[in-house]
Amino acid sequence: MDLLTFEDVSKAFQIPRQFSDFLFRRPAGTIQAVRSINLEIKQNEILGIAGESGCGKSTTCMMGAGLLNPTSGCIKYCGRDIANMSRADLVEFRKSVQLIFQDPFESLNPRFMIEDIVAEGPRAMKLWPEMEIRKKVSEILWEVGLDPTRFAHRYPHELSGGERQRVGIAAALVCEPKIVIADEPLSMLDVSIRADILDLIKNLAKDRQFSCVYVSHDLSILGNVADRVLIMYLGQAVELGIAKDVIQSPAHPYTRALISSVPIPDPRIDRGVPNIIGDISLPVNAGQGCSFAPRCPYAEAECARRFDALDTATSVHQSACWKSDQCFAGVTDDHS
């Protein structure tokens, strides 16, 4: 069964009206941060979400964690709508969906000792008696590779970046969640230690049997960690599939451009020029069609009206571009 499902979820933010807007009686604009997303997070999978800043990936996560309410559509946890859950169910939901934050330097309380940072969640939710919380805290510290006898009584400033991110992971996992949402957990860490943290997340997901939503703009990391990848552009889900399929044979023109813009650490490979027009804009008062159309080198008049929403019930590789099949017909695939 699917753990978390997004059914036609949209989120719009109002742009505050300026003085001149009142003067000329212009209505408030809205930013369509997320538009009609359908998404199913399956048990024990790592789902990667990729896209540029402003594509709605963080908004999607915040809604999934219950921190933002969708403007329309509903999000269901184990079949129950999180917007009108009973109190008991809500406690269960809060415990089961946990976050790993981007910046381990900002997200740990500097006045708390490591033990208290990790124990804060279960204590606040009164999950277990104090003795058991302490036991679970030292267990989880072991599991993330921090010896509790050395680390439990230290403060965050005494730890390196990698160690702090391990604390962040421990704090998310101590509640024994079913879903962990990780928003760019590596971007603040040094390259030489990223692989360790990535392995840690992968192995813990396997051992402790949780699903993970891994948000990143770095497709080379997603290709390494994720089972499935969802590509977003200006609030729309444009492509979904098994991570390797999406990266090695992208079907949507945007995904293709995104992948060919990733630098390759090998001077002998020429990745070519991404085929894309202009710069990213804001999804203000967006229409019905494909939001990528203005930047798409293959766009036709039809694209302004037509957007084939993804059918997320299957894990078949699919693209929201109605002419995916035509765009790259005859294009040699140099990604294999």
Partner: protein, 334 residues
């Protein structure tokens, strides 16, 4: 040769102790090349450029046998002469998070005009024409000179900073993490702009980054920095295909490639050391899977391999064999 620094040391005084951030470093930059410096945070990359440009904090101190730029001894130059003759005119800097380096209350064009006027005899009218040229060469429309920084996107601000650094035709531009914080598609465009303007303006670039993928695309030569000095310098192709220092091998193993998704990523165990003593040793020895006993007692000499490939490692003769072993994860776990 454009810039040559011999035995460069930069240290900070803190709590009565000297902390060495740059340690016996030899740097040469040729005319018309992009020299890349890669390393982890804390390896001294940023301190290196602050030292070269005399921008160190008050507790910082720089010592060197010699620093020669374009035939000029810039080490013994007076502060006044350095500011008027070197900064902007001969060496310019695009600082880290350049996107936030523009003054929010001045128009972008005026800020570039200010730089030009401060360091050359141009009139305002001449400077404005120059600004229009500069903006166009980095891919911005000339009219944007009349905009304020907040009207620009991150990528546009970065372009404006690059335009500013080109203002007085410097021979060397120092760029500290020029694409950090930008989206990949924007980054791609900035990288292409950099490659273009370098040819157009015939300057050298000293590029600082932790991202070896960017280095592989832009740099012609790379210096791998660890604990305040270069452990390996070589042509870009040699760094990636014939790495000779275990740290270089580790870095390339740790970095994912979108063209090679099945390759297992391998971290380097441990974390960078604080250089708080003068005792001779290889500073990488505690994290190095190939360290010998001698590595904790002897500072390895910089050895010249073929093709201006230099490496500081006691076991450099076994480099091919070690590079093979370094590709296996088991080597790094012990």
């Amino acid at each position: 040769m454009l810039l040559e620094a011999k035995n460069l040391n930069v240290s900070y005084r803190r709590d009565g102790k000297e902390i060495h951030a740059v340690h016996d470093l030899n740097l040469t930059i040729e005319t018309n090349e992009v020299f890349g410096v890669v390393g982890e945070s804390g390896c001294g990359k940023s301190t290196l450029i602050k030292g070269l440009l005399r921008l160190l904090a008050s507790n910082g101190r720089i010592r060197a046998d010699s620093i020669v730029f374009d035939g000029l001894d810039i080490q013994n130059m007076s502060a006044e002469e350095f500011r008027s003759e070197i900064l902007w005119k001969r060496i310019s800097l695009v600082p880290q998070s350049a996107m936030n380096s523009l003054n929010p209350v001045y128009k972008v064009g005026d800020q570039i005009v200010e730089v030009i006027q401060e360091h050359s005899g141009m009139t305002v009218a001449e400077a404005r024409i120059r600004v229009a040229e500069l903006l166009e060469s980095v891919g911005l429309q000339a009219e944007l000179a009349n905009s304020y920084p907040h009207q620009f996107s991150g990528g546009m601000r970065q372009r404006a900073m690059i335009a500013m650094s080109l203002a007085l035709n410097p021979k060397l531009i120092i760029m500290d993490e020029p694409t950090t914080g930008l989206d990949v598609l924007v980054q791609d465009k900035i990288l292409r702009t950099l490659a273009d303007v370098r040819h157009q303006y015939n300057c050298s670039i000293l590029l600082i980054s932790h991202d070896i993928a960017i280095m592989s695309e832009l740099a012609s030569r790379i210096g791998v920095m660890y604990a305040g000095s270069f452990v390996e310098t070589a042509q870009t192709d040699d760094i990636f295909h014939h790495p000779s220092h275990p740290y270089t091998m580790g870095l390339t193993n740790a970095f994912p490639s979108i063209r090679d998704l099945d390759r297992e990523l391998i971290s380097i165990p441990g974390s960078p050391p604080a250089i708080d003593s003068d005792e001779p040793k290889c500073w990488f020895n505690q994290r190095c899977p190939f360290a010998l006993d001698a590595c904790s007692r002897i500072t390895p000499e910089e050895t010249n391999l073929q093709n201006s490939h230099r490496v500081s490692c006691l076991r450099f003769e076994e480099r091919v064999e070690l590079a093979d072993k370094a590709k296996r994860k088991a080597t790094w776990i012990s």
